[in-house]
Amino acid sequence: MMPALSLFLLLGVFWALLSGQFHNNFLIVAGVLCITFIVWISRRMGVLDDEGVPARFYPRTLLYLPYLTWQVILSNWDVFKRIWSPSLPIDPRMAWVDYSTRHPFVTTTYANSITLTPGTVTVIVEERRMLIHCLTPDAESGLKEGDMERHVKTLED
């Protein structure tokens, strides 16, 4: 019941913000009917579980965003310097990196964060390790130190 309720609220907020219709009664009723229909269909499809609507992770994800933004800016600056440098100082390699996050939502967030920071791209995600394409040895060692993984794991507590 909780996933259905959180999906209903989420879709409601999304609809209200995008449409901006707070005064027309007909449109509000139509919106509520549409949202109810979507929630009913998701229930029938069986996607209303902890993986389909990971609402309990959203507040901590918002707290994680500033750290992620800062990492994106830092690594962008690093790649920025390398692109403009005449000698193109890159040494790309593939590397397996172990991870220990358990919940699919947290693992997805971790893999997406790795891809979002320039210099590292997640290629394959397996049960306990990921294949990462790194632009530089520094990017690889920075990832293996596990600073980002520690921050992502705060989502699971």
């Binding site: 913000l17 390699r93 891809t115």
Partner: protein
């Protein structure tokens, strides 16, 4: 100039520089994987900066929220697309370029 126009100008200029760098990296990088690094993400920060910059000159709050949501959705969609393309290349056994093996690209 009002203060928000100054912020917008600075953010738009930064976004343009970052996007230009992404395009330059696309031309300079040696192979498929390294090109994804520059095109997929230096570009996404550039677009994010441009959208955030535009959010400061929107006429009302709802438009501002829409512009920021486009930026947030981009931050989720861009790495997912990059990951999908990279995985497809890896599954087709595309060898990455390295310093010791410059003939990586078939």
């Amino acid at each position: 100039m009002h203060w928000n126009e100054i912020v917008t100008t600075v953010l738009l200029a930064l976004g343009c520089v970052v996007s230009l760098t992404g395009s330059l990296g696309l031309l300079r990088m040696p192979d498929f994987y390294t090109r994804l690094h520059t095109s997929g993400k230096t570009d996404s920060l550039g677009q994010f900066l441009i959208l955030i910059g535009l959010a400061f000159v929107t006429p009302d709050v709802l438009t501002c929220i829409k512009v920021v949501s486009v930026g947030m959705i981009l931050m989720i969609a861009a790495p997912t697309a990059t990951h999908a393309i990279t995985k497809a290349a890896h599954l087709h056994d595309l060898r990455p370029w390295t310093r010791s093996d410059p003939g990586g690209e078939p």
